[in-house]
């Protein structure tokens, strides 16, 4: 099962290393990490997505809270939070598939960043599963480059 963990921490070096250390040393997967400045100056909020079961997650939450630089660790429940991710995707395009690609991109409310005779680059914001879906659909064409930020999440 997928879990979204929100971590509020001091903006000090070593904090992120301890978080990733905690996961790698136990062989747990990190699906995505997204981090940046938080509401108070000098603090960072990190949204981390992982999988596992309730028991493992509860243990991880306690271990995270034990890290000296972490103020707050919250497990975000889907119905109480909103999470979004940015994806940048560049696909190979020619005159034959141009209309189809643009139509599909519109369906995902993706906006065009750059387009020329050979390729098109889109920016799309949505849930991780929406972006997964779009990626799968666009694999029908040739994806030249793909980059995702990982989910950022807050309480509703």
């Amino acid at each position: 099962m997928k879990y979204v963990i929100s971590i509020l921490m001091d903006d000090k070096s070593g904090a992120l290393a301890r978080i990733t250390e905690l996961f790698t040393s136990r062989g747990y997967n990190v699906d995505s990490i997204c981090s940046g400045e938080a509401e108070n100056i000098g603090t960072h909020r990190l949204t981390l997505v992982t999988d596992g079961d309730d028991q493992r997650i509860n243990h991880i939450l306690k271990l995270l809270k034990n890290i000296v630089y972490i103020f707050e660790v919250t497990l975000l429940k889907p119905d109480e939070s909103v999470s979004l991710e940015l994806m940048l995707i560049k696909v190979k395009m020619n005159s034959e598939n141009r209309a189809q690609i643009i139509q599909l991109a519109n369906a995902y409310e993706a906006s065009i960043i750059e387009m020329n005779g050979k390729s098109a680059s889109f920016r799309v914001v949505g849930s991780a599963s929406l972006l997964d879906g779009m990626t799968a659909v666009f694999r029908e064409f040739k994806i030249i480059e793909l980059s995702r930020t990982g989910e950022a999440a807050i309480h509703k």
């Binding site: 921490m9 001091d10 070096s13 070593g14 290393a17 301890r18 250390e21 040393s25 028991q55 509860n58 243990h59 306690k62 271990l63 809270k65 034990n66 890290i67 000296v68 630089y69 972490i70 103020f71």
Partner: protein
């Protein structure tokens, strides 16, 4: 007033009440070592290997309850401390490690003796710092001691570039601590205590399972008061030994893989276990699925991540064991447990530890159990025993009848061979009026044998005991039991003459191979003012009993021959 980095470090040590520092010099700590010459009130104990410095600090911390300080240089000096730091981390021992680092300008260039000690030490420290700006040094020093000694104690490392050591600042050591992310557990609430007492009152076969947390919080007296008031038997972990006198009528001794028969069997018959400052180590539980399957669990620990980690607790209390017991003792009263205690005592009588004092032995047969028993008897258990890891460690846990907390030092979690000798050095700096006895096997003794020089150097009155059976006994025992006696790697064909080695270091040494010589030599050692080495030449094939095979259920306990 502007102060140098090294002056600030020494000032911080003084403010923290540090009297001894264990260290080894090197290029990137020359300024810091130099500063010690200006401060004779803090003694720099120069060991012979950085690993030993960490173990010595660990030993000092275990007997004193105070964070001790390690100083090592950059690169190999720092990496050598890692085993010692990990040993402390696994057993929740407070420690502050100061490592020198190359100057800031060359960090990250693979400069001479440069290593990323922050990265290497991260998994084995509670917290660590690289000082990049001297203005932060005073705060970091203050925080390091605080973090190391509060909550669940542990090692904290500070990596200080050599150019910061000689730089100056007018920033002072702060008077107060402000670490917003580091929150200590609140006091155990009255409601929680009532809930606990209610569950205890409904139990008919309760057992207390006491771990290292009881000793770390000096809660032995409170534990005894509680156990006696309610008439509840107490079993301890390896690190819990000494929290209740082993000769107390409610003491069941150690539980677990090599624990006492009754302690283990009680865990299969109990209906409520009160776990105090322990963490359900696999050497205690054996097969987790069946361990305490029939019993309720009350689990008290200062570290929230320990609760429900291995076994789900019916009541989990996050807090200081001593505070918890003080609160609980106000509620506690007599329980109707006479029948249960009687049943436990009966088991104890029917399945005692084999008494090697009375066992007929051949002239040249020397049983380790007997030797430990004699040490316990002759010292009246009034000694600090520092073990290494292996068979002798378990023999000590079973046959030395500890009566006081902080008298048994052993690497329980990491199981570090080579721990005993240097840890005894640290202990010797705190312990007065009692002897420090370091016990190692011939394998572990050779892992930090160079510390004989430190012991001679400072003339420390340590009784150094080597149990020489010519093999790595515990691993060999596993090979005997589970690997068809195929002794791959475990036979130490060539050992030095340990008595001559001791003499080469200027320490008197004696070799004992006969039972009748044992008491006399122990008495002689106790009368010796300085260090002395006793080598006991033992049977090569002795096994530790009882034993629960690894990962197995308690009911499959092997009691051993003749029991």
């Amino acid at each position: 007033m502007e102060k140098k980095g090294t002056e600030i470090i020494l000032q911080a040590l003084k403010e923290e009440g540090v009297k001894y520092v264990f260290g080894y010099p090197g290029g990137c700590v020359i300024p810091l070592f130099d500063e010690f010459l200006n401060h004779p009130e803090i003694e720099m104990i120069r060991v012979r290997h950085e690993q030993a410095a960490a173990h010595a600090a660990d030993g000092y911390a275990r007997v004193s309850g105070r964070a001790a300080v390690v100083i090592a240089t950059s690169g190999p000096g720092a990496t050598n401390t890692i085993t010692g730091i990990a040993t402390a981390a696994l057993d929740s021992i407070p420690m502050v490690i100061i490592t020198g680092q190359v100057r800031r300008k060359v960090i990250g260039t693979n400069a001479f003796q440069e290593i990323n000690v922050l990265g290497i030490s991260r998994p084995v420290t509670k917290h660590n710092y690289l000082v990049k700006n001297i203005a932060n040094l005073p705060r970091i020093l203050k925080e390091a001691f605080y973090i190391a000694q509060t909550g669940r104690p542990g090692p904290v490392l500070i990596d200080i570039p050599v150019d910061i050591q000689t730089q100056t600042t007018d920033v002072n050591i702060p008077a107060t601590i402000d670490i917003p992310g580091y929150v200590l557990p609140e006091k155990v609430s009255a409601e929680e205590l009532h809930q606990v007492w209610d569950m205890i009152q409904h139990a008919s076969r309760p057992v207390i399972y006491a771990g290292g947390g009881v000793n770390l919080t000096n809660a032995g007296a409170e534990l005894l008061e509680f156990a006696e008031k309610c008439n509840i038997p107490v079993t301890t972990t390896l690190l819990g030994l000494g929290c209740i006198p082993e000769d107390h009528e409610l003491a069941l001794g150690m539980l677990g893989m090599h624990g006492q028969y009754t302690a283990n069997i009680a865990m299969t018959r109990t209906d409520l276990v009160i776990v105090l400052g322990a963490r359900f180590d696999d050497r205690v539980t054996g097969k987790v699925e069946t361990f305490l399957a029939q019993s309720k669990i009350i689990h008290v620990d200062i570290d929230p991540s320990v609760i429900n980690k291995i076994k789900e607790a019916n009541i989990g209390i996050i807090g200081d064991v001593k505070d918890f017991l003080i609160g609980l003792n106000k509620l506690a009263g007599p329980l109707e447990t006479e029948l249960w205690v009687e049943e436990v005592k009966k088991t104890q009588k029917e399945h005692p530890l084999k008494n090697y004092d009375k066992e007929p032995m051949a002239e040249n047969e020397l049983r380790p159990e007997y030797i430990i028993g004699q040490f316990s008897k002759i010292t009246k258990s009034d000694a600090v025993v520092v073990t290494d890891v292996g068979q002798h460690q378990m023999f000590v846990a079973l046959y030395f009848k500890f009566k006081k907390a902080r008298s048994h030092l052993s690497s329980g979690g990491l199981g570090t061979m080579g721990y005993s000798l240097p840890a005894a050095i640290g202990a010797a700096y705190w312990v007065k009026n009692r002897r420090v006895i370091s016990i190692s096997g011939d394998g572990g003794f050779q892992m930090n044998i160079q510390e004989l020089a430190t012991i001679r150097n400072y003339n420390l009155p340590i009784i150094i005991v080597v149990f020489n059976n010519g093999n790595l006994g515990m691993v060999k025992q596993w090979q005997d039991f589970f690997w068809n006696s195929r002794h791959s790697g475990t036979i130490l064909d060539v050992n030095p003459d340990f008595v001559k080695v001791a003499e080469a270091y200027g320490i008197p040494g004696f070799r004992i191979g006969k039972k009748k010589e044992v008491p006399e030599l122990i008495r002689k050692a106790l009368k010796t003012k300085g260090p002395i080495l006793l080598e006991f030449v033992l049977d090569k094939d002795a096994h530790v009993y009882p034993m629960i095979p690894p990962g197995d259920e308690i009911k499959n306990i092997i009691e051993g021959a003749g029991q």
